[in-house]
């Protein structure tokens, strides 16, 4: 996810350089019309369809048992995947940003892999590994361990798809901040963890929060990868996005959009928090925008 640049409109574009007023209004109108059609309309329709049969139907859909377990599963997956990826992100950023070593660029490219791979393939690779006909399939079923078509598989696929977010935010940020402060702390006698906790962490806290925000949004909303590894068993292996799909395919539109609306609200909260962080702490997180 690229960092939105909170741009200030160039305030003093002189009259000498400006388009005629009608061109300006025309372009603004066109842009807003396009955005209205492609962004606003879908967003509004989620809520419109969810409330098509009134608030009662809406809340009933959300209170439904399967819906509740889908929500629970989504939260569990996020609660596991996000911290795991935070630990990875911080670790990877530390070793990439503060040290020089051969093969560093390969490492960085590897971190970008989930972004270039289709979500379906992200799920496929785990099926190939842990599925019944996968490498480890026979061994796993022999030991009665279920990964694919069970919660662990979902967690794994989610971890794959979301692990770059925190790392990609922190690496350029920590590279930009350099090693001066940490070196000074070492000279003063600080040990590893103390060093990190007291010196590095305060400097990266807003970038970290930003990365966690993006990671979480993606973890809760991931569909393609999770769809491949889940067994689509209602009440057991369905996250919210998957449940939306099931309800939609059963023509249960109100319920599908009801759950979708919860996800949409999550997206809006993420966007709002993202904008807030960018606006207040742009310098502390802006390093990644330089890519």
């Amino acid at each position: 996810m690229a960092t939105a640049i909170t741009t200030a409109a160039v305030p003093n574009r002189q009259r000498a350089l400006s388009e005629p007023l009608w061109v300006k209004f025309g372009l603004i109108g066109l842009a807003l019309a396009f955005l209205g059609l492609f962004l606003l309309l879908p967003l509004l329709s989620v809520f419109g369809e969810a409330l098509a049969k009134g608030f009662d139907a809406y809340f009933r859909a959300l209170a439904d048992e399967d819906a509740q377990s889908a929500i629970r599963l989504t939260l569990i997956v996020a609660v596991i995947a996000v911290p795991l990826n935070v630990v990875f992100g911080v670790t990877a950023a530390w070793c990439v940003a503060k040290f020089e070593f051969p093969g560093k660029s390969i490492l960085i490219s590897l971190i970008d892999v989930p972004f270039s791979v289709s979500p379906v393939i992200s799920g496929l690779i785990y099926v190939l590994l842990f599925g019944l006909q996968g490498w480890l399939g026979p061994w796993l079923s022999g030991h009665d361990v279920k990964i694919i078509f069970a919660v662990p598989g979902i967690v794994l696929a989610t971890v794959f798809v979301t692990f770059p977010f925190v790392a990609r935010e922190l690496i350029p940020l920590m590279e930009e901040q350099g090693t001066d402060e940490e070196e000074a702390a070492v000279v003063l006698g600080a040990s590893g963890l103390v060093l990190f906790w007291k010196v590095t962490l305060p400097n990266i806290k807003w970038g970290l929060l930003y990365g966690v925000l993006l990671c979480n949004a993606r973890a809760m909303g991931e569909f393609g990868a999770v769809s491949v590894v889940s067994g689509h068993v209602r009440g057991l292996t369905n996250t919210m996005p998957l449940h939306v799909e099931i309800l939609y395919n059963e023509y249960n539109y109100v319920a599908a959009f009801a759950i979708a609306s919860v996800l949409a609200m999550l997206a809006l909260v993420t966007l709002a928090a993202k904008s807030l962080l960018e606006w207040r702490f742009s310098k502390e997180i802006a390093a990644s925008a330089r890519h």
């Binding site: 003093n12 002189q14 009259r15 000498a16």
Partner: protein, 369 residues
Amino acid sequence: MIDVRNVRKTFGGFTALNDVSLHIAEGELVALLGPSGSGKTTLLRILAGLEFPNSGSVLFDGGDTTHVSARERQVGFVFQHYALFRHMTVFDNVAFGLRVRDRASRPSKKEIAERVNHLLSMVQLEGVAERYPSQLSGGQRQRVALARALAIEPRVLLLDEPFGALDARVRKELRRWLRRLHDELKITGVFVTHDQEEALEVADRVVVMSQGRIEQVGTPTEIYDHPATPFVYQFLGNVNALDCRIHNGQAVIGALTLPAPAYAGVTDATGVAFVRPHDLLLSRPGEGGGAPAVVRHVTVLGPLVRIELTLGDQVIEAETTRQRHAELQLAPGQRILIWPRQARFFLQDSWEGTSFIAEDDLSKTSAIR
């Protein structure tokens, strides 16, 4: 050729130009000189049509061009950082102004090529036509920018600190080269600079500006020898600004009293006296006239000697030749007499001043104490 009348320009709450009027004659090379914030660049950009004044008017050859856009004004503009189009070759850059003309007035490809090549040889850059700006040095880039501006045969050439981004040696070369080019082409030119040496060396006339106002307009010699205001005095060359008391037609600077007949009616007013270091005559007590001063510090700078003196409770700087220094045998603590060849007095907060010019024979001067 260009008339600026009572132009006023504000940016938000800041007044960049405050009632500025100026006339620029055909074929002149005029320098707008002043510190940053003086409004010189704003004035230049208004001449170009890149800014528009809040009030006042600009006339080109008598025609009102105040609100004419830069596109229609037919001016050539050279920027401090060249503003060459990076994705175009030198040739394409110079040809740009000719190529964007509409069908009717556009020259043929052959004509464009001829013109561009002629211009490139005029700025002594034949052979780089196919290179890109990033492959040229700073001085070369600026010459391309100049060729590009000249390609459209502008009525006037406007340059915004054209040599500001270059290092000292290149700056000096290009300065002289610009002057020669101007003489050859006989084009009207206005350039902005904060470097007084540049203005004095290159321009036919200098417009000294400060805080949105014109302080003085004149030839380089005029403004150097006869600065009209305290600001001009202090901006150009070294000067001593001394506190003085003006009373009954006399200016008293410590032990030094000089006649100021213009202020005959003034009683007990404070003022400022400006004396250039090289306008101070030094002599040994008993051998000449003047007020007593004590040498504090002597610095030899190549062919000149700079002497720091105390006159009463004020510090004054004098400049003299090595020869004179050898004659006087100046050393710290030594007492000598000083007398100004020329001085200018201003009543406090006044723009109008009066001058004092010494007569040749020091012995004829009066009021020496």
